[in-house]
Symmetry: C3
Subunit: 453 residues, 3 copies
Amino acid sequence: MEEFERSTLKSVGHPRFIPKAKPVSENLERRLWQELEQIALIDPHSHINPHAAASKNLGDILGYHYYTELAHSAGFPRELIEQEGITPKEKVRRLVPELKKIRNTYQYRWLMEICWDFFGFESSDLTESNWEALYDASEQQMASSDWEQKVLTQSRLEGVFLTNDFDDPLTGFDTQFYIPCLRTDDLVFHLSLHKTRQRLAQATGVEVTSSNTLRQALGKLFDHFCAHGAKACAISLPPDFAPEPVTDADIAQVVEKMFASSSDYDLTNEQRRLVSNYVFWKLTEFCADHGLPFDLMIGVNRGVYQAGVYQGRDLYDRRTSLFQYKSLLNAFPQVTFPISVLDHTANPELVSYAWIFPNVVVNGHWWYSNLPAYIHADCQSRLQGVPISKQIGYYSDMYKLEFALPKFRMYRKVLSKILAQDFVQDRGWSEEQALRLGQELLRGNVERIFKIG
Amino acid sequence: MEEFERSTLKSVGHPRFIPKAKPVSENLERRLWQELEQIALIDPHSHINPHAAASKNLGDILGYHYYTELAHSAGFPRELIEQEGITPKEKVRRLVPELKKIRNTYQYRWLMEICWDFFGFESSDLTESNWEALYDASEQQMASSDWEQKVLTQSRLEGVFLTNDFDDPLTGFDTQFYIPCLRTDDLVFHLSLHKTRQRLAQATGVEVTSSNTLRQALGKLFDHFCAHGAKACAISLPPDFAPEPVTDADIAQVVEKMFASSSDYDLTNEQRRLVSNYVFWKLTEFCADHGLPFDLMIGVNRGVYQAGVYQGRDLYDRRTSLFQYKSLLNAFPQVTFPISVLDHTANPELVSYAWIFPNVVVNGHWWYSNLPAYIHADCQSRLQGVPISKQIGYYSDMYKLEFALPKFRMYRKVLSKILAQDFVQDRGWSEEQALRLGQELLRGNVERIFKIG
Amino acid sequence: MEEFERSTLKSVGHPRFIPKAKPVSENLERRLWQELEQIALIDPHSHINPHAAASKNLGDILGYHYYTELAHSAGFPRELIEQEGITPKEKVRRLVPELKKIRNTYQYRWLMEICWDFFGFESSDLTESNWEALYDASEQQMASSDWEQKVLTQSRLEGVFLTNDFDDPLTGFDTQFYIPCLRTDDLVFHLSLHKTRQRLAQATGVEVTSSNTLRQALGKLFDHFCAHGAKACAISLPPDFAPEPVTDADIAQVVEKMFASSSDYDLTNEQRRLVSNYVFWKLTEFCADHGLPFDLMIGVNRGVYQAGVYQGRDLYDRRTSLFQYKSLLNAFPQVTFPISVLDHTANPELVSYAWIFPNVVVNGHWWYSNLPAYIHADCQSRLQGVPISKQIGYYSDMYKLEFALPKFRMYRKVLSKILAQDFVQDRGWSEEQALRLGQELLRGNVERIFKIG
C-alpha cells in the first residue's frame, strides 16, 4: 500500500525509516499542493454578511482592515482613508500609491491573487498606472448576477460559517450554506451597556430582572440559533480572562440593579469580572445542553491603539496562559472547545492542552498569527503532537468571499511543504496517505466536529 | 520584469503562484544520520525499573502514557483503558482501533519503529487486522531470556540513568549500568503527607524533630545514594517555583509540628513555600557537598486535567522564567544544574542563561517539547549560542527500554539535519568535525558532566 | 583538514566562508547573498569609540564580552580573564585554549571571519599552535595608519551610529561619519547616584533644584546633541518597565530632595518608579520636539549573574509585553520608536505592534537574539507582516569596527535564504525585486528613518 525506498543500508535498521533521497523534492511539494487545492471546503469561521457576501468593487476588497491598517501603519493618514462620503473608487485611488510600502507583506499577496485569479489581472503589481482599468473592469465582473456563485465555485466553497450578533434574525438566506454561529462577546463583556440589554430584551422578549430571568433570556438565544441551524457558539477573549464559576447569589444584586438601569451601568472591576464570568459560564452550559462547540478565540485586547483605523486598533499582551482555562476545561468535558490563540508563542501551550484534554481542539491560525512563517511552525508541531481528529486546519476569518481563495491557498501551500517534508520524505508516507491527512484538516474534521450534514 | 516558470498546470490557477523547482543535499544529511546512529549511548534520564527494564508484551509498550493519553484525548474513555483486571492483550485490543486517530503523531512513529526494528513487523501500520499476530509473536520474542540484552545491544545503550525514589534500597541490579539518580519531588513538595515522612524515617533511621534532624535525614539519603553510585539528583518543579534561601529559624516551628503529626499536615501557602524552599536549598547544599549535578526539570503543574489517564493529567502555565532561579544560580556556583524546560518557548531563555551562567547546562527535550519541530528549533539555537561542553543533547525519559531506540533516533535525525545544513553547508565544516560535535552531544558531555567512568 | 570550495568570487572575501555549492536553488541563495554583500551600510547602532574605533591587537577582538563570557561560561575563571595588569597578548594566550569549547557558536564564527578576512589567516581554527603568529602579524597590520580606513572600506561602512553618554562633548571626530546618539539609561535609571547628577550639572551648567530645572537640563542635552548632528536617542529598559506620564507635582518633592543631596540618594521603589517614568516621558517629549527617533531596547535585567565577567552579567525575564508601552505609543504619534527586543519570543508581539502602530519600527536583532536561527524566524515573520518601510534590518552593536563585517554578513546570509525561498521561489519575485527589498532593509530605511543626508 505504501512505497518505500528499498535502501541497501541495512545496518541502520529496517528500510522503512530510511528517509528517501530527495532530488526534486519541490515537485513532490507542488504535486501535493495541487491535490490539496482540489479539496472542497466548509469554511468554519468568517465574518461574511450572507445578504452581501461577495464584493461589489475593489473598494470592498481594499477596504479590508488588513490594507487600511497596514497603509495607516506605513504612514497614510486615517482621515484620508476614512473620510466621510468618498466613493469606493476614490478610496482605492488613495490607497493604491501606499501599496508599494506593503508589497513585501503576505496580505498584499492575497490582494494580488484575488486580482490575478478572479479578474484575470496580468500585471505583477497594482500601481498608480494600472489600477483604474482594473477597477472598472472588475466592477463590471462583480456586477454580474452570478458573481457570488462564481466566487464560491472557483474557491471550492461548499459552506461558510458566519459570525452572528446574538440578536440576528437569521432569516433571508440559506442557513445550510451560510451556517449561523452565535457570537457572544457583547453578552459577556458589554451587558453594562444599556444598548446591549435593550437588544437582549428585544431579541428574546424576556424582561430580565434577576439571574434567573437572565438565564432564561440566554436560553432563548440558543433556542433561536439552534432552530436556525447554528453549528457553533463563539467568543473572543482578552488575555487576562480566567473563567471561574459564579453563583447566582454572587451575581444577584448587580444583575438586578444593572437591568433596572435605563442607561449604561458603571460596574466595579470585581463586578465586571463576576458578570463576565457568570454569563460566560452560563453560555457554556447552554452549549452543553445544545451540543454546540464553543469557539474560544483567546488573547485580544480591544482598542489598544486608540487612533487606529476601523478594526485596526486591537492588539494583545502575551502574558497569558491556557492554564487560566483549567476550571472550564475540567467542568465541561461534554463541550468541544475549538481554540484559537492570537499570539504565535501561545501555540506550544495549545498543542499540549489539545494533546491532553479531550475537549480541546486546535483551530486555525488567527489574525496576527495568520502569516505563513507562523502557520508553518504551528501546523508542524500540531501534526506531530495532537490527534488528527482534533485539528481544524484553517478558517478564513474573511469579511468578503473573495478572500477565501488566497487565504486557504496560503494555508494549503504551507501544508503541502509540511506533508512533503515531514511525512513523505522523513517518515516515508505515501502521497496518498499525506493527502488524506490534508483532507481531514481541510474538510473532514470540520464536518465531524461541527456535526454538519 | 519578473521571470515566472510558465507551468502547464493551468488547472490550479494563474502560473504566477506555481513554486519553482529546486534540487538536493539529502545525501549529506542521510550520511551524517547514519554515522550518528553508530554512537553508543549513556541515557542520562529515564524512568526504567532496573528489575524489569524491558517490556514483556505489547501491553507494556502501548501502556506508555503517550498512547493512553492520546487515545483518551482523541475520545476513548478512560474507564476502558484503565479498567481493573483486564489483561495486557485486552488493553492492546482496545487501544489498537484508536491508533488511526493518532497516526500523524510522532509518538505513533516511535511505536511503529519499535514494531519494525525489534519485532520485524512488516506492515506500515498497526491495525485491527494485524495486531494480534504481532502481539503473539512479539510476546514470544520478549519472553526470551536475553531480550533485555538484545534491546540494549540493538539500541547501542551502554548505561541508563534511573529515577529513584528517595527510599529506594538501590540493590539487586548493576548500578554501573543502571545508574541511580535521587529524585526529590516528594521531599520538596510532599513532606506534609504523613506517608512521605514515614518513608523518610524508614529510609534514614532518623527521627526528625527539628530542622537540624531534617537536615541529618536528608544527608543520610545522599550518603546512601552516593554509596550506591548515584550520579545525579533530580526534581521536577512547577512554573511558579522561585527558590530562595530560608533560615532554620523561619522553618523551625512548622517542621517541628509537621513531623510531630501522625497524619497529613495542613500547611498554609506561606508555610508550604517555606518548607519547599528550605528542603530544596538543603538538597542543593548536599549536591554541592557530594559533587552531584542537580537536574532541574522546570515548568510542570500536576493534576491540571483531573479526569485524565494515569500520567496524563499534567500540564503547564507558560508564564514562568529562569529569572526565578537567579538566587539559586548565584548561590551555588559549584553545583552543575542540567536544566530542562517543559514549554518550548522557554528555550531561548535557557540558551541565554546557559550562555552566561557557568553552572547552567542545557538538558534534552522534555515531554511536551519532545517533538521534532521543537527539537529542531531548540537544538539549532543551542548549538549557535551555548558552549558545546554545556549541552546534553538528549535523554529518553522512557519507562521501558524499547523506547530508547526510536526516541534517540528522532533526535539523531533532527541533529543530522542541523549538522548538514548549519555546519557543513553554511559554515563549511567537514563532516568529521560535524560528527565530533554530535559525539559530544550524544555521549561525551554525558560522561564528563555526570563524571562517569 | 577541511574541504572548501575554492570559489573564484574573490571580491567577497576569503574562500573559506563561501558556502559549498548545493545544486540549483542554493545558487540562487548564493547569488542573492553576494549581491547583498555589495550594499554599502550605515550601521544604525554601535558602541564604537570614535577616538579609537578599530582594534589595536587580537586582545581588543578577543576581549569582546561575547568571548570572555562564553569562555567563562565554559569554565574559565574570571580572575584569569580579568587579571589586573596582564598584557593583551597574555589575555589572548589564556583565552585561545578555551576557544575549542565554543567552536560551535556563531560568535566564534565572527572571530574566524575577522581572522580570515582582515588578516589573511589560512587555518580553519585559532589554536594554541597558531595563535601567536597571527597575533604578531595582525598587530603589525593594525598598527598601520590606514587600518581604520581599510576596515571601513572592506566592510563597506559609510556611517556608524555611536552610543554616547549624555555628557559626551562630541568633539574631535567626524560626526557626519560617526553619528552621535544620546544614550539615556543613566538619566532614567541612575539619577539617584550623586555622580550622575554631578555629570548632568557639569554637562549642562544647570543647577537642578526642581522638576522645572530638571527639564531645562534635559533640554540642554538635546540642544547639545542635535547641534552635533545626533540622529537618535536610545535607552535599554528592564522587562518590568511600563512607562506612564507623571505630573510635575508628583515628582516635585523627590526631585528637590534628591538634587539637594550630595551623596547617593535612597529612593523607595515607588519614588524610583516615578523618577524613571518622569524622566523617560520628558526625554520622549524632547525627542518629539527635536524630531529624533527614540530607540527602545526592551528587556534587559542588569547584574543577574553577579560573578560574571565585565558586560557578561545581564539577562532577562521573559514575562514582559509591549502592552506595557500602550500609553507611550498612543501619547507620542509624532515620535518614531525603533524597537529591539532581547527575548526572541517577544518578536511576534513586535511584529504585531509594528503592523498596527505607525510609530513602531522593528529594529535589528539584539544581543541574545542575535543568532542566525532567531534572526531567520524573526526576519521572515517581519517581512510577511510589517510594511517594508518600517523595518531596520540589522545593526552591529559592536565595540570595535572589525565586527561589522562578520555580523552583517551573518545577517546578509540569513536574508539571502529568506529572499531566495520566500520571495523568489514561493512568490515568484524576480531576483531584482528581492534585492531591492534587501537594499531597503540594509540601507534605505536607515537613511529615511533617521533622516540622514
